[in-house]
Each structure stands twice: as C-alpha cells, then as structure tokens.
Symmetry: D2
C-alpha cells in the first residue's frame, strides 16, 4: 500500500481503511483468538524516590490515593471505579513494569495466554495478581519487548465523579492512553491489529515511511500509540481532564510551586487527535500527558486520518515547536524479571530529523515554506 499523503491533497488525508503500509518483517498472526481488550487500565511505574514521586502525583497532580505502603502507592483518577490507574513502586531504576489492559471476561485471560504463547512470548499468570487490588492476571513480554498485562478481576472502589468537594482545579478524571516507542511502526501496528486494536490516525511521509500510529479499543482516539524510535521504551502515560482550563490550572500551579521546569511541552492543541494537551516530566523523567477532548471513534468504519510528517500542525495545531527531548527521551521498560529491556534502533527516518533543525522541513501551508517566528527552526 502506498501512503495516502500526496502532493496536492489537503491536510490531513482521510481514508476509510488502515492506511499504514504493510510491514516488511511482519510478526505472524496467531491462530488463537486474541483477548477482548476493553481499555487501557493502569501503568506500573518504577520510581527511584517514592516520596518525590508521591509528591508529584498526589500533591501536585492531585491523583487520588486508593492505598499505599512504604514501597508502593496506588493511585486513581476521579471518575475511576477500579482500584488504580497508576502504581508507583520504589525500585533501583526508573522504568515501566507494566502496561495493563482490562479485558471483557475472566476467560479472556486464557485467550491472552494462548495468543502470546503462540507468538512465542514469555507469559506469566498469577491468580493473585501482580499488584494489590487486581486478581487473576497475565503478564507477557510482547513481541515488541513491552511488558503487557491483561486482567479482569479488580477491586471496585468509590467512583469520585460526584465528589466535587474533593476536586481541585486541575482534577484528572480518567486514564486516557499509553504511548510506546518502537523502531518499526508498521510492524507494531500489524501486531496490535492482530490483538484487536484499530488505527485511528497516523503520521507518514510521501514515501510511505510511518512515524507514528494511534490505535484504540475503547472509542477514543487511542488506548495506546506507537511512536517510531529506539525501543521498546515508554513515551508517556496520559490522563484526561474535563475541560481545557483544568490543564491550564496545572501549569499555573506548577508555576506557583516554582516547578514550571517540569513542563516539557505545551499546553497546546494536537493536530493528531484534536485534543488539548500538556506534557510533564515526573521526578524520574517519566513523561505524563494531560489531555482533553478528542473525538468518538467507535464506529467500525471510523475514518482514519493520516498526517504528513512535514505538516507543522500535525503535533501542534498552532505550529508551536516540539522540543527535542520530546522526540529523543523515553522511559526504560522492564522484562518480567524486572530487568531493563535492551533497545533496538530505529532504521527508518526519525521524525525529529526530517522536521526540525538545519536539514528538517516543515510547512504551515503545503507548498509555502515561510519560516515564521517559531523556535523550532532555530534549534
């Protein structure tokens, strides 16, 4: 398949099917039925200074503590009814221990075991769960090297949606999505489609190089995205707010706390996803996105939006620059023994290289190479 990006087309391009070119080195599709994934549910983060991380996520970002002990803090968002959306676990190396998805039925755990076993992946199942609050669960080292978890059983806790007496100006109300760094995006997408995910948006160039793809189970723009780069690494975890002013309130609070230097990028409006966003870096450098107002994608023929990598509004609709660290830095992920996964280098072009700096190229209007005031071109 060729890229839907063509020289004369308006930006971005819209296609009915999956616009991502077939991968060269495809992971074979298992015969086993994949587990029925409902949504991204929680991330387990290893942090090196638990007190510092707790302060960041609880005192600054106002996530709700469901439960905690001296080594671990279990956090959830205001509208969540399951035990946690984020686990902070003290450890020697800052890393991600699990990207956890909820499945539709207990039986889907059997399917997860079969699916990943057929893929030749390491699979571990624990009836008592891998973290507090979660029951029977399966963890795997997936074909891309990421630690994925699947679970159904979970402790229900109070959904604080109506507890406006507890809300703060920047209240985080849902876990929205993960974002993963992997060298070969088409290869990752093909595997994720086998797992039942669907592409909603992507970034390509005219030659068909794919820089990133967004994929969903729940009907939002994504439950996870695949971002091209040396991987496996975790690019970010994203929480949703109700409105845009909630995100601005987080920035304002960081300024008041003299911690504005943890704002890495934004706030801004994404081109991809159309959401309003902010990227922060936690005390270990783990990247957290705050995100609001993408769109419904649940129809089976939901149009897929393909952005030209050279379109300067693809990652920020206002054309504001993406800082280099956002492209280059990401978190280590762990194998099931807790050891850092080694990285494989990306061999396709890097989005940063083709868009900013001396050799990069971006436009606001196709065919118009006016530079404007943005800092990106000057880096």
């Amino acid at each position: 398949m060729t890229s839907p990006i063509t020289p004369d087309a308006p930006e971005p391009a819209v296609t009915d099917g999956d616009p991502i070119p077939a991968p060269v080195n495809r992971i074979p599709t298992p015969k086993a039925t994949p587990p029925d994934v409902v949504r991204c549910a929680y991330m387990e983060l290893v942090v090196t200074d638990l007190a510092a991380s707790r302060e960041f996520y609880v005192d600054v970002l106002d996530l709700v503590v469901t439960e905690e002990d001296e080594n671990t803090v279990y956090l959830r968002s205001f509208e969540e009814f399951i035990h946690h959306n984020l686990v902070l676990r003290k450890g020697p190396v800052a890393a991600v221990a699990a990207f956890a998805y909820r499945v539709r039925t207990p039986e889907d755990l059997d399917r997860a075991v079969e699916f990943y076993s057929e893929l030749g992946c390491r699979v571990e199942r624990r009836a008592e769960g891998f973290t507090k609050g979660i029951g029977d669960a399966v963890r795997v080292e997936d074909p891309l090297g990421f630690p994925y978890e699947f679970f159904y059983e979970v402790e229900h806790v109070e959904r604080l949606a109506w507890r406006y007496d507890l809300y703060t100006p920047g209240a985080l109300v849902r876990l929205d999505h993960f974002n993963q760094v992997t060298p070969d995006v088409p290869r990752a997408v093909a595997y994720m489609e086998d797992l039942g995910f669907r592409v909603t948006e992507d970034i390509q160039d005219e030659a068909g190089t794919t820089y990133a793809a967004w994929m969903r189970r729940k009907p939002t723009v994504h439950d996870t995205a695949m971002t091209g780069g040396d991987g496996p690494r975790m690019h970010h975890v994203a929480f949703a707010t109700h409105e845009k002013h909630n995100i601005i309130a987080i920035c304002d609070k960081l300024g008041a706390l003299r911690r504005s230097d943890c704002i890495e990028r934004g706030p801004g409006r994404h081109g991809v996803s159309n959401a309003f966003y902010l990227y922060l870096r936690d005390p270990d450098g783990h990247r957290v996105e705050i995100y609001t107002q993408d769109y419904y994608t649940g129809d089976p023929d939901n149009p897929v939006v393909t952005w030209d990598v050279h379109d300067n509004q693809r990652r920020d609709w206002w054309g504001n620059p993406v800082v280099p660290s956002w492209y280059t830095e990401a978190s280590t992920v762990l194998d099931l023994d807790g050891n850092p996964q080694p990285l494989t280098s990306r061999t396709d072009d890097s989005e940063m290289d083709v868009t900013i700096g001396a050799d990069g190229f971006s436009y606001t209007r196709k065919g118009d190479d006016a530079q404007g005031f943005k800092l990106g071109a000057q880096v």
Copy 2:
C-alpha cells in the same frame, strides 16, 4: 429483586448488577441473536413549519446542514462523519418518525429482522434506506410502540472536528442520546437488555417502583433512557458540546434573540449522569437537550447508580426545580405508516406527583425535610 434504596444508605446507591426489579409483564426474550448496536445515530423529526425548525436548528443551534431540499433538512454535529444526526421532515403533525441506531456490520440488519420478527413486531426493510445518505436499513415498530431503525450503510461526510473556522460559541459536537417515555420502565428495560443494552443508572423509590432508567451501548451513560409516563412518546434528543461554557453560550444567544422562552429547564448539573445540561423546546415543542461531561461506562462491571426518587439532587445536583412541563409533555411517535401511536397510560406512580406539589416530597439530605428557597415546592 428489591430496590437498593434503603432508609439509611448514602445517596445514591451503587450496585454491581442491574438493580431494576423484574417486570410483571415481561416481553419474552427472543431466541434470535440481537443486532450489535454501536450507538444512537440519528433521529427523524416531523416538523410542521420547516422554515421555523430550520431556523431553530441551523441559525440558533448551529447544527451543520449536510443536505436539504424543500421538504427535508439533513443535519449533523461538528464531529460527526456520517451523513446526519437529525432529519427535519415537513409533515402535518409534529412527531418522531424514527430513533435510528447504527449497527456493527451489514449482517446485523438480518439479525434485526429476525429479532423483531420473533417479537411479533412489524418490520420493514429497505435496501435504499428510509432517508437520504443511509443505505440498507430496517425499521420496526418495537414492542413498546417506538419506531426504531437499524442501519450500517451510510454516506461519509467531512468530520468538521478540526474546522475551528466554522465553530460557534455553542457548537454541538456529537449526538449523545435519545430519551423515551414509556409506561412500564422495568418492562422496557428488560426488552432493551435483550437488545443488548446495559443499565447505567436509574431512579427508584424504597418500594422498588422504577421511575426512569438509563441504558447504553457506547460507553457513555446512555444511548437512550426510559422515562416513566404515558407512552410511547419521545422525551428528548440530546447533543453534546465540548465544555460547559458552550451550553451557557447557547442560553446567552437565546436571550439575545429574545427567545429565552424556549429554555424549558436548566442549565444545571444532573445528579443522574453527572452531566451539565440544558433543555430547550423547538418550534413544534420537541425537546432538545444540550449535554456535556458524563463519564466512561464501558467496563463490563460498570457500577450501576440508583437514585432515590425523593432525592432532590437526582435530576438537578443543585436542587433546582424540575418544571412540570418537563414531566408531562413529550412528542408523539409515529408507526411505520406515519400515523401517531396511541398512548398507554402509566399505572405506576408518577415522578412529578411523588416529588413536587402539595403531596410530593423531596429532600436535600436524607431525613431532613427543610424546604429551602426552591420554587418547586410552591407549584
């Protein structure tokens, strides 16, 4: 099953399963597999003065005209990619001609035919669709007397999500839900569960009388709700905005146009659904809700919230009064020949009677019967 509402419990009650008492006069569950409904998709409204209705929905509410002719206007919301979310069709009697749902596959139309045929309902299928923009479709007179449509094929149009040059201060971005009036809510719920819907919230009293129930396919609080009353009638159709200020902007515009008298109720915060809302009446008296920010309900064990009918915050979290017309007035629905459906009277208690006026009773705090300043008690 007894009501989860108990004298000592906090408000509202939360249960894991369906809290609605079993109906006395159950509609038998078909053996046929129901169609896989994706979401509520559009409503076909019959209006008596097309110019007046077009002005209301296009010039005042800023819905987008996909297509129109002298008898019909096809409208959509800003984030929609299917041909329409609302059809205004000129006719002699103000009424609803169809509540239309999108299904997952073309084959689901066969299932719809089987499901409703087994129920003994009148079923009509048209390969060319019942309205412009829609292909093969099935319409039925459902067991409750409502004209339901199911379709898969639909013309794709531009999703205007990114077209901020076209947005107005009160831009409507999605069709959110329908609301139907029916005499026996438990009976309606049992049938809708057979059709694959799930209850998310409901209103009961201690004796287990059910006044209303909210049900969903897509993971929001509802695709439709069943409101107890003489039926079948259409209570309202609801569109979503991004933020609360968008709803306020609609009120402000109506004031500027000296049309504030079409505001029937609100704006306010719902108890049920936790959404911010506004109810308007169109030139024919059809009720339109503007709605934003309910919560994710897509997990299979999503907690169900049961509100006490006497809880004064159930329908307005701020305790503001529900005007009588909101309880008593609703739109006629048509059979498949276009004739008004006759009404069956509700025999269970009426929510209005038990909550407002001389014999009604509502509280802000359980066990505290302070009256406060609200107008409701004075009606």
Copy 3:
C-alpha cells in the same frame, strides 16, 4: 424627568445621562466636598454561630483567613492585598455592622466627617479603626439608615493572585459589590450621587417608578446597588470569580456536600450588568452573590441602561424565574450602637408584585405575552 422606557423601544433603553426620575423627598445636597471613594472594600457581618459561618465561608467558599480569634474571622479574596473583604463577628442577632469603602487619601476621612455631619447623620471616628487591620476610620449612620464606613489606612497582606497552589475550583478573587434594600430608590440614588457615585443601570416601568439602580465608583457596573423594598436592609454582598466554570464548581461542591439548599437563585446570566451570577444564603440567611464578567464603565459618559420591569430577561437573561425569597428577604442592618435599624416600608410598587404571580406581568418579547415553561408564572 420621564422614564426612558417607552412602548415601542427595543429592550433595554440606553441613555447618556442619569435616567432616574428626581425624587419627591430629596435629601439636600451638602455643601461639603464628599470623600473620594475608591471602591467597596469590606463588609462586617454579625453571625450567630461563628463556627457554622466560618465553615461556610472558609471550608465551602474557600475565602482566605487573614486572621481570626474566638469571636471574629477576617477573610479576604485571592487577589486582595488589604487585610480583609469580609469580617465575621459573633453576635446575638444576624445583621450587617458595616458597609466599608476605601477612600483615596487620609484627608478624605475629614471630608467624610464634614459631609455626613452636614447631613445631620451620626458620625463616629476612630483613629485605631473599628476592626483589626484597619487604621483611622469613620463610621456613620447614613441618611438611609445604613452603617457606612470610610477608611484609608489598612494593613497590606500578600496578594495571592499568583498562588495557584492555593486556588480551589471556585476561587473567589475580588469583592465586587454590595446591594442595599431601601424604600425610595430615586431618593437613595440622589444621595449616592452627592457622595460621588454614578448610575450605570436601573429598572423602571413606563410610569417612571424605579425599582432598582446600580451605582459605581470603580469602573465596573457597581460598588453598590439600591433595591426597592422595606429598608434599610442588606440584600447581598458579592464576590467575583475569574470565569463562569468557577461558579459552576461552587454549585457542584454544594451538591457534593448535600448543601444545595443554600443555593437560592441561579446560576444564571443577569440582564442588568451582563454578569454571570449565583446567589447563596449563608447559615444566618445573609445572601452572598458570586459574580463574574460585567463590563467596563469608567468613561465619564458611560451609557446608562434602563430595563423595563416587565422585561423577563432583566434579572435573568435566560428568563429563569426569580424566587420570591430573593425579593422579600434581606438582612437587618445595625446602627452604630449595634442595635437593629427599624424598617421603613416601601410605598412604590413592588417588583415582585408587578412581575410574578396572578397580577404580575412579564414578557420575553415586548407585546408578546406567551407564558412558556417557567415556574415564575405559576407561583
């Protein structure tokens, strides 16, 4: 002068000068120069249960405690730099002890003494101030019976404008205005104009009866308003938020605390002032308005807006009903000895009587007497 309200004019009427008819029983204009009032600065409230009032203003409304002792709490808003905007003082009868205005220079206190002495008012001056944080101050029983204070010296405290770490979702950022109940509005206006205030908006009928008038020193719609009714009484004290969602957050929080019955009216958009508003009642029944986004009025020829008392959008731009308590209830004010001021009855028509209930009359569009759904007409 005749009323600017005429049968054929659009609503509301705009005039360049003061549209208020001359009073029949004018308070003579003093020869003395009035003090140069900068703005309304604080109100001293007497409350009967200090703990309950503290909870309301501090824990619910999140005003900032500057200082407190067992009998008194000194509160300020987030952008304030003077010691307080509200004093809660424990006392036997709920009442208002002072409406305090800041003046431009210390010498303006001499002018206040002369001005009110010439008016024959009781005047008391205390070099050490009447409350903590305030220095040299003058209190008077003004010609309308209100306890007015004028002061220049005041303790400066931290302006918390940048302290976003302390903001709550409904943060109150400024004291905006007072509102006073007095029997003869034109008489009150003439005296306030002598004191240097200017009318910005008013409510009249065709016969020239004046129901209320808004007057300012700082360039907003008002520092105080005169509302027709038995007086002297205090109608409300108003604090400003930054945005409309802040006011909604206060309602949401009151719902979560099961205190929604302290919401007396709103939220809504005023016709008069064009501000977004909410009225609450504190534990003693003192009325507090939360208010945002009126307009600049500082030009010397700022157009004065006169609303027809029968215009249903004058007090709520969306035509939502004014509850009777809002018209009839108000707080006692004290004389300088701390005794309640006796009331003088209004002899002009009452706004409530002429607009709601069986004999009242309101319209959405001049000449159109459609009733609509609003509860007001049904009371």
Copy 4:
C-alpha cells in the same frame, strides 16, 4: 534608589512605592497640570494592504466594523460604546499613526496642549478630530517620540455586550492596553508619571537596570507599558477576551485557516500581570496581544511587583521560551507629518541578551540553574 531585587528575596519582590530607579537624564516635569487620562482608547495603524488587514482583524479576529471606506476601516470590540478601538488606514509604510487616550473632560484637551507645549513638543489640535467618529482632539509628538492623541468627544455606538447572537468563540471584548518600545525605561516612566500614570509592575536586575515597566490609568495592570529597546517603536496593542478558552479558540481557528504561523508567542500565562495571553502578528507584522484576567490595581497604594530579569517565569509563568522576534521586532511610529520616527538605540542591557542564548541566564528557582527542556536555552 536601588533595585528591590535582592539575592535572597522570594520572587517577585513587592514594594509599596515606585521601585524604578531615578533616570539619569530626566525629562523636566512641566508646571502645567496634565490632562486627566481615563484610559487607552484606540490605536491608528497604517497598513500596506487594507484588504489583507481587514481580513485579519475582521474575518479572523472578529472585531466589529463600525464604519469603513476604501482607505480606512474603523473597528471596535464587543463591549465598547465609543466609535472605534482600532483604525486601519491604508498607507505606504506599515506604522502606528496614533496611540489615543480618552480624557475625562473637554477641558483636559487644553491641559494636554499646555502640558506638551511646556515640554517643547510639537502639538496639533483639530476641532473636527483626526479620524472619523472623534471630535476635538490633540495630537503630539511626545518627548519619547511617540504620536499620542488625547480626545473627549466621540460618537457613541451600540455596546454589543448583550448581543450574544453576534459573538464568536474568540470574541474580543475590550481594548486593554498599548505597549511601547523605548531605549531608556526609567526616563520614560518618569515622564509618564508626570502625565499621571502609575507603575504597577516592572522588570529589573540586581544592579537596578530596568528592562520594562507597566503603567496604568484605569485600574488594570496597564494602559501602556514601556519595553526597553531601540525606540520609539510600537511593541503591541492588546485586546481582552472574557475567558481563557476564547484565546484558545483564536489559536484553533488560526490552525483551521492554516495561518498558525501568525502565532508568534503563546498562549501562556504571564508572570507580570498574571494574565493569560497570546501574541499574533498581523499581515504587516504589527503585533497584537490577546489578553485576559489581570487584576484590580485601582487603590492608591496598590503594591508594585518587581520581577528579576533572570526569573524564567516573569514573562511566561510556565517558563516557556520567549521567541527572539518578540524581543527584537516592533512597529515603526510616525511623526505628525506621517514620517517614520528615527530610532534611538538602547544603551542599557538588552533583556534578550541577558536571559537567553549562550551568555544569557535564567532560573526557575533562585539559585538553581537546572536547564530543563525549554527551547530558549538552545537558541
């Protein structure tokens, strides 16, 4: 006077008086009484392509056209009642022809003539005004080289505050302030204080070099600011919106129009003024700020806030970088004959040089020189 910036003080410093060091080369204070300036009222811009400028200000920014002819467009904001806040006049060189202030009385024009005559400035008075809609007016070439206008007489037009049927998502509701570039900020401030302006905030370094100062007549943070640089030039003209989302809507619309490259800086939160802001460049490069929610400054002893030039949150509270063009580019101003004013170079340090790039220095926390992710340090 020494700078209030000290090594150990918290950021920013607050002082009761004017913290700006006395100028070396002071403009003598006239004996004449200065005119009583009410507020900044309008700017007259010379534009080279009137159609392009009209499209920018009317079709993109939605300012309201009061009147226009083939060479001139008169624009106002939604809450304005005077004839215009911005004049676009076609001319050969993009420039500013007038910074116009409204005065309190017609007699203040006599005072303006005396005041500037005594200063030795060129003064021109026209009974018929310099632009349509304005009556008797005085224009001067002020001691800093800026074309200042003073007027009282002005045509009143409809204040569109209540015309929500006309509002757009990014509606501009008031002219807020001007910003001027001048080489010697203390010298400019001393002259402006003679004219009756008061300093509200400023930027200094420990040595007392003053980089910028904000000054007001109306009780907001400023009617104009003096920014250090080669001058006289016009840095920007600023319009206010009601809420922050209105500013975001302008960015979103610019993205939709593929004109995001006219966004020069922001949106963001200012440290100075605490306002939410956005800077745009019009088709001629004139800079326009969109601004909302600074604070009340009308008290005579309003605390003055002095920011350390090295405080990275002074110009953006979130620490986001200031693009170099914002520091270096500004608009030509004209003399009363319409000729460009020659520039005088700044001899004090440049804010850009001391804060960004290889030799600059900024901190988020005093004494902490962590660099963070911001692009500024990399330019």
